[in-house]
Assembly symmetry: C2
Homo-oligomer: 503 residues x 2
């Protein structure tokens, strides 16, 4: 490595340190901060965020990027050197297109919007949120124009969470699997009496839930010497380094699923974060939380669902769970429990959706976002559009906007273009898992015995160690030889739910 490259790497490591400092402030805000501290914390975070933007868009970055790029010319695409330059250049270009004035106006609008949205949702009063949302969408349209886009304005927004993905690609994938999901959920609906989830709706001691979640998380391979699990209102994972990864979850005394599957979900993110290669650690490439949302979600979902809600897994885990909650589960056999945790329900709230219906919630939001950013759909007409499309997809209509258009925080935070990553993550979770099993067929049998290291090693070698070198498209091609495909996911869902519901 030449001297210019070294200097670039050191400079970008400082940008990275600011990103992580921001996240430490955010973690503390969610986990520890007394709510009275919110005002000062917002100011502290704004300073860090502004400095990071200044640092990244400085002339120094441009100069060092240019010099270093010449120095490492010809380095292989997947080398640390070529990857650092590729990723940094993309983010530098993107950041440069955001004027400081625009960043400030958007930050201000977002700040106000989240409070207005929270009140509107509490009061089920969309009208009070409408002008705020209009303003935010105007800003996102302005942003798209500033950033530029090859085809659809939405491309510009998508580029920020999924570099290289286009609206057309996402649309093709969504259009492809939507009818299959509708058909599958319709078929399940006819068999609705066949499965009961009463067993997971009982009283479960929180301390025992926590211990059980920790034990599974450790069995998966999460290293608690290099991370921790805390409690927060909204569960999340944050990576401060590959050796300091924070998971949070939340507990309900009357419902087993949220903490159990929440912990497995965040553990998936955590395994990803702890698996970063040591040559990547501390560099600009070592930031899970800034990498592709779809890749990140593919790993939370793989461990939560493809492993954690599988029959194979519960062969091993159920006796342990039953040992933890002997009274509650006395009359529930492993098959009944497996069906209980995989109950399919038409419900209004995305974050509570089962595997079979989840992506339909995203299809809905994607369609609406597309039309909002072209102005085809007016914000005033959004609740009606939400409800009528919800009916098309699910056959039911949300009784209130609170359970409909007002449910998600994302739009109030100016986040348009992120929802697709959730659905793409689901598709990828199956594509990657299938490839892992193809490469190492013993994985399925190992899971029935509580062994996860072959799968974890596969994922570390093929996915985690790269940090954020690759876009989702680059990674999925590299690993599977293919682009993102919906067919494996549909095949997985059909096989699983046809079995559970005896279709």
């Amino acid at each position: 490595m030449g001297e210019k490259y070294q200097r670039l790497a050191a400079h970008l490591a400082e940008v990275h340190n600011l990103s992580i400092s921001y996240r430490i402030l955010m973690w503390d805000q969610q986990v520890n901060m007394p709510s009275a501290g919110a005002g000062a914390r917002a100011a502290q975070m704004a300073t860090i965020s502004r400095l990071r933007h200044e640092f990244l868009t400085s002339d120094t970055t441009a100069r060092l990027l240019e010099g270093a790029a010449r120095e490492v010319e010809g380095a292989p695409f997947d080398s640390d050197e070529a990857s650092l330059i590729r990723v940094a250049r993309r983010e530098y270009d993107l950041a440069l297109k955001h004027s400081a004035d625009f960043v400030a106006r958007l930050a201000q609008a977002k700040n106000l919007a989240t409070t207005v949205w929270a009140r509107a949702r509490a009061n089920n009063d969309f009208k009070s949120f409408q002008p705020t949302l209009e303003r935010l969408i105007d800003l996102k349209i302005e942003e798209a124009e500033q950033l530029g886009y090859p085809g659809h304005p939405y491309d510009a927004l998508l580029e920020q969470s999924e570099p290289g993905m286009t609206t057309a690609q996402v649309k093709a994938v969504f259009d492809g699997h939507q009818p299959h999901l509708i058909a599958l959920t319709a078929a399940v609906r006819k068999q609705v009496g066949k499965v009961s989830d009463a067993s997971v709706h009982q009283h479960f001691d929180i301390e025992k839930q926590r211990e059980f979640g920790l034990s599974i998380s450790q069995a998966f391979g999460f290293d608690y010497k290099r991370g921790r699990l805390d409690t927060s209102v909204h569960p999340f994972e944050l990576q401060f380094s590959r050796d300091d990864v924070r998971l949070t979850t939340r507990y309900r005394e009357d419902f087993l699923n949220p903490a159990l599957f929440g912990t497995l979900h965040e553990t998936g993110h955590g395994l990803h974060a702890q698996g970063f290669g040591t040559s990547v650690e501390g560099t600009y490439l070592s930031d899970l939380d800034a990498s592709s949302g779809a890749v990140a979600e593919s790993q939370s979902r793989m461990w939560e669902n493809v492993v954690g809600r599988s029959r194979d897994f519960w062969q091993w885990a159920y006796p342990k769970l039953k040992g933890t909650f002997p009274a509650q589960l006395a009359n529930v056999d492993v098959d009944a429990f497996y069906r209980a945790i995989n109950t399919v329900r038409r419900q209004f709230i995305r974050v509570e959706a089962d595997e079979a219906t989840y992506n339909l919630h995203i299809v809905l939001r994607f369609g609406l976002e597309l039309e909002l950013v072209t102005g085809k759909l007016k914000v005033a007409d959004l609740p009606a559009a939400w409800n009528s499309r919800f009916e098309q997809l699910f056959g039911i209509v949300p009784p209130t906007d609170k359970e409909g258009v007002l449910q998600d925080i994302h739009w109030s935070q100016g986040s348009f273009g992120y929802f697709p990553s959730y659905a793409l993550g689901n598709l990828l979770s199956v594509q990657f898992f299938n490839k892992a099993v193809q490469d190492a067929p013993s994985i399925s049998d190992e899971i029935t015995r509580g062994k996860f290291d072959t799968l974890l090693n596969w994922a570390t070698t093929n996915l985690y160690r790269h940090g954020r070198k690759f876009t989702v498209d680059e990674l999925v091609h590299r690993v599977t030889g293919n682009s993102i495909q919906w067919q494996p996911y549909v095949a997985y869902l059909e096989a699983k739910f046809k079995d559970i519901y005896g279709l």
Copy 2:
């Protein structure tokens, strides 16, 4: 306020936000971080620290300071405006004298030194620490030369923790009360059998200790909606804003004092931090942890000792403590308990010292530091010098360097010139408390009834609300009309221990 002043205030608020961000990273490091995260955390903190220094020493600061100073010329000395300019100018000048190269060299030396010191202390092996300490002292001498000083090189080091204080002032105060402390402890020594502290050395359930500590802390007036109490290896207080103040303590199952008085000590700091005026909050003046160490320590000591170890206080608190630990304290009356927590012991370890001996530990360190920074005392001769002066002051000799010269972390962190603040804080705790009682004579009686608001209001009005507008000398003159005095402290100690030991 003019436009230039506004811009200066906004600029300095960003410096302040970086200081606080640094502290949030530090708090997390002490309270939550898995130890594997240490390497990355050091890098993150180094980035924030470097940026803060750059920001503060930027031409922008100089330009804004100059413009704003002209704008607010004639503002009263204690106004927010004049104070901001005074404090910022002092710190700007000081920071500017530290070259970036020197800051980097010192940071590197400190980083290595703390590890070397920890190992040397564990192995009771001063020789292995000696070259490192020599290097650090060379750097501190270089720093003193860079900063410049009116009389003694130690002035330059003192200026950083106690702006405006000189070595001569500190020496006069220390020389003044040293013989009185020696005489007092010698007199006590003859009565050593009169007081037993066996009652605080029993088994005390940690959860109950925590609850009791919290209840006293709340009774003092600490607002847990604007703060929290956690556990850490080394207890401390950090202020993220007046509305988010973090206390930590540590518990010993077999000894009541550390957590109890530790909590009251940090509560004192916390009340100070929560009492900052709202006009000061969020500005460069709102940083307790960067203000005078002596003022800060005066408040931790006032609440811990002058209140928390007083007979008045335990009239009210002892029945509650007895209710919490009925078995342990069944045969201990309030008078015996009061004597137990005020037992005077000759001991080697400063942080475990009682009120009567504490300042002698500081006198020792101050004398050694003075001679180290002039080169009069060589590091090779330091252990012998420590031991012989310890014997002069206490009449005993530490059996090992571990209990002697190696006991404190300070020197390994390049902290020379801070120790005096601890002793000055003790003196001030009594000066301020006496003034409070003089202004509001009901305070003593109120304390026997568990009422602390008159004292807290006095301290908030006279001390806390100012943030860090004033140096210790400015503040003590403003409040008491006098400079720092040792006589009230000696009078307080003599009255207290003559009573306890029946001298």
